[in-house]
Amino acid sequence: MMGIEQIAFLEILTFIAGALLLVGLGSLTSALLQPNLPNEAKLCTYESGEVPTGGSWGKFNARFYVIAIIFMLFEAETVLLFPWAMVWANPTLNEATEGLWARYTAMSIVLFIVPLGIGLAYMWRQGHLASTHPCPIPPTFASKVPKAHYEQINHRYASTPRRLQHIQKAK
């Protein structure tokens, strides 16, 4: 004997099976129709037509990590809000308490949401939600070495890049 929830999830299982069937059929048709002629240039990683340099798993800016932490907090909050929304004005409980039930549940959730709102406002004020746009600060350090010296050194050691050498030779 199966309950209604088990039947529902059996139906969901048929959807998974249907999707997998479509994926399988598509892959089979494609496998029969498509050529398979790999070569080194084809299997090379795409980098705008240039020869790829280095891997892709380099460093990336993780400046949004604060948002990830706030996200965890709010996601947990949402999980708590959904069950509350199911029962907050339950007709049976409401009638048994002559309307007090809905008022108390509403009050309790306001006490739950408002501190979260204050928390969000605090994060906003601290700049964690807005500072994601990089604003470079130019260094204010004043060097004792005059700038002309650097330019002299640059000029002395400046060599023509290899890819431009043949142009210079032609001249």
């Binding site: 039947i7 959807f15 080194e40 892709s56 996200f71 709010f74 907050w88």
Partner: protein, 363 residues
């Protein structure tokens, strides 16, 4: 009877039709002709594209993880398609009768982000990696306001069952004692007798009207549609997470993108725009609502309710397509700021406002 029999063929037809519509709309907005060669006015173009994708070589880059590279698009398609299981087709032909419908749908839609991230990350390509990171950050940004805007409907409907939510918004809705059926909260005007657009959630409970606008914007973010298509922004990241994909694997990614579009607009229609109910109210002496609904249990009822549901959803998609080709893309930090600084507090406020409205009209 399972709705799989409807949704699987419909989804394939929809993707073909939407692909054609998208290109024609883009052409119309940019003063071009769009596809014209294959068939009458280029109508055969999506079918030709389908066959082209089927016989293209699937290139798996040498640097990518072979297994995950091939399975990630399949995973994305399976989770998004499985989310359709709880959606109703007509009034009588409902989806999987689980009590957790809307929550299940949101959970499955969220799993898409995991697949997209894997697809981008495993490609071992610099553009794809940036796209994959953007998928995740965008996910962190839209998930909270999306759940909260759905929650504001749950406060009114008191159920997560999408079929029951749709049923509450029409003529002769099943009486749920704690849900107010008064139009704009005016006592004595019982919209369950009138039906039509008056009993849709957006008019029955006015805060939900604003909530729907929020939901619409967030659904654009969730579907990675312009102006929020940062994970695949072709002018900066080539193709974003699907830079390396070709052939059939690319076809799954495209199929999922359009499925997600249909999923989100259907969810919006069911939650806010009356599901399969007619927009025409029953006026005194002029029962427009009954004329455009059909008697319950008959074939006419099936056709009218299914017709209204999908007409509304397709109209929403049409609006989304026009938005895609007319609005410029946002910068990435602007998306995060929009979601966290404006949409999340607004969604929280709307939940409180809906709660207050329901409390006022409770007795």
């Amino acid at each position: 009877m399972t709705t799989l029999l409807f949704y699987l063929p419909f989804l394939l037809l929809f993707v073909l039709g939407a692909g054609y519509a998208e290109r024609k709309i883009a052409a119309w907005i940019q003063d071009r002709l769009g596809p014209t060669e294959v068939g009458y006015r280029g109508l055969g173009q999506p079918i030709a594209d389908l066959f082209k994708l089927l016989q293209k070589e699937s290139i798996v880059p040498a640097a990518a993880n072979k297994v995950l590279f091939v399975w990630a698009p399949a995973w994305i398609f399976v989770v998004v398609f499985t989310a359709f299981a709880v959606l109703p087709v007509t009034h009588a032909w409902r989806g999987a009768p689980t009590a957790t419908g809307a929550l299940y749908l949101l959970a499955m839609a969220s799993l898409e982000a995991v697949g997209l991230f894997v697809a981008g990350w495993i490609s071992h390509n610099k553009y794809a990696q940036l796209g994959a990171m953007r998928v995740l950050w965008q996910f962190l940004a839209y998930e909270i306001p999306l759940s909260l805007s759905v929650l504001s409907v749950m406060i009114v409907s008191q159920t997560l069952d999408l079929h029951a939510i749709a049923a509450q918004q029409g003529l002769n809705a099943p009486t749920c004692t704690s849900v107010s059926a008064c139009w704009l909260g005016t006592k004595g005007i019982d919209v369950a007798q009138w039906g039509g657009i008056l009993s849709w959630n957006i008019l029955r409970v006015p805060p939900l009207c604003v909530s729907y606008i929020l939901f619409f914007v967030i659904s654009l973010v969730a579907c990675h549609r312009a102006p929020f298509d940062l994970p695949e922004s072709e002018s900066e990241l080539v193709g974003g997470y699907h830079t390396e994909y070709s052939g059939l694997c690319f076809a799954w990614l495209m199929l999922t993108e359009y499925s997600m579009l249909l999923l989100m607009s259907l969810l919006g229609v069911i939650l806010f725009l009356g599901g399969g109910h007619t927009p025409f109210p029953n006026l005194p002496g002029l029962p427009l609502g009954s004329w455009t609904s059909g008697l319950a249990g008959t074939w006419a009822s099936h056709i009218w309710s299914g017709g209204w549901l999908f007409t509304k959803a397709l109209l929403i998609i049409l609006i989304q397509m026009i938005i895609r080709w007319t609005f410029p893309r946002l910068r990435f930090d602007q998306v995060i700021r929009l979601c966290w600084q404006y949409l999340t507090p607004a969604a929280l406020l709307l939940c409180l406002l809906t709660l207050w409205w329901q409390l006022c009209t409770l007795d």
